[in-house]
Symmetry: C2
Subunit: 155 residues, 2 copies
């Protein structure tokens, strides 16, 4: 979906609506590359060193999981104006992400609200659960996203 | 600090304690590179396209800001066993991060707790504010981090 007028506004969404993403494969190289730039700690950088840590083996940075989930969100939730997070209510990482994991994101509309000060905008609360190939939850994210109203949609 | 025994355990921390990071420079190239991989939306990818969006100009992905903040945290908060986030209570992005911004992170210990089930572990709540060169807050993060106890420190 590239035409903004085909994308979803506040009026097109409903509480309880679900969006399912494609999958993304996690590689050992990608884990180490992300960690080298943003989270240089032994359990994200080196298989051998990682065995002696809390994670007992190489694990992706939680921020890498969040970033991969964002990619899945952009692909699966076609909001008018794009996916713009104002804030996050919570992030949990119940289980580590490992090399060769296949991740997907399942997003549910939890709340919808019109803006009181701007007739062209609203806010939506979205709960995104990131799952691995075994169906284990590796991340829970509750995000407050900026929405466009149908009458205010940008051309 | 590379020797784990010189790093901070639960017993070495105090509520109200502050950690100040070095700075990191945000470049237009880094914004676009991160976005290309994880958040491919016009306002993070292209200066011209970005002028017509919510951000009215190129802005870093919030997840890029979070990832850069993690790098500053790893550099500035020397916890025994590393910085391991169990969950985040909130993330806010009150102001966009722009090319040429110079970011730093200021972290405060908000709460400390021993684990009831594991005598070697505890949890700490840390509030990290990410500031730009003008002193504006670009991110507020409240993180629950895994702590080691002094008697349980890994060699």
């Amino acid at each position: 979906v590239t035409d903004n007028q085909q994308r979803l506004t506040l009026e097109d969404l409903a509480i309880g609506q679900i969006f399912e993403s494609e999958t993304i494969e996690v590689t050992s190289d990608a884990i180490k590359r992300f960690a080298g730039e943003f989270d240089p700690q032994p359990f994200h950088l080196d298989e051998t060193a990682a065995t002696k840590t809390f994670f007992v083996g190489l694990a992706a940075s939680g921020w890498h999981t969040a970033a991969m989930t964002m990619r899945l969100l952009v692909q699966s939730v076609p909001l008018a104006g794009g996916i713009i997070g104002a804030s996050m209510d919570e992030i949990q990482w119940p289980k580590p992400v490992r090399p060769a994991d296949l991740l997907r994101a399942r997003t549910e509309v939890v709340d919808l609200r019109a803006s009181k000060s701007n007739a062209r905008r609203g806010m939506g609360k979205f709960k995104t659960v990131t799952l691995n190939q075994d169906g284990d939850t590796v991340q829970i994210l509750v995000a407050n996203l900026v929405l466009q109203r149908r009458q205010g949609i940008d051309p």
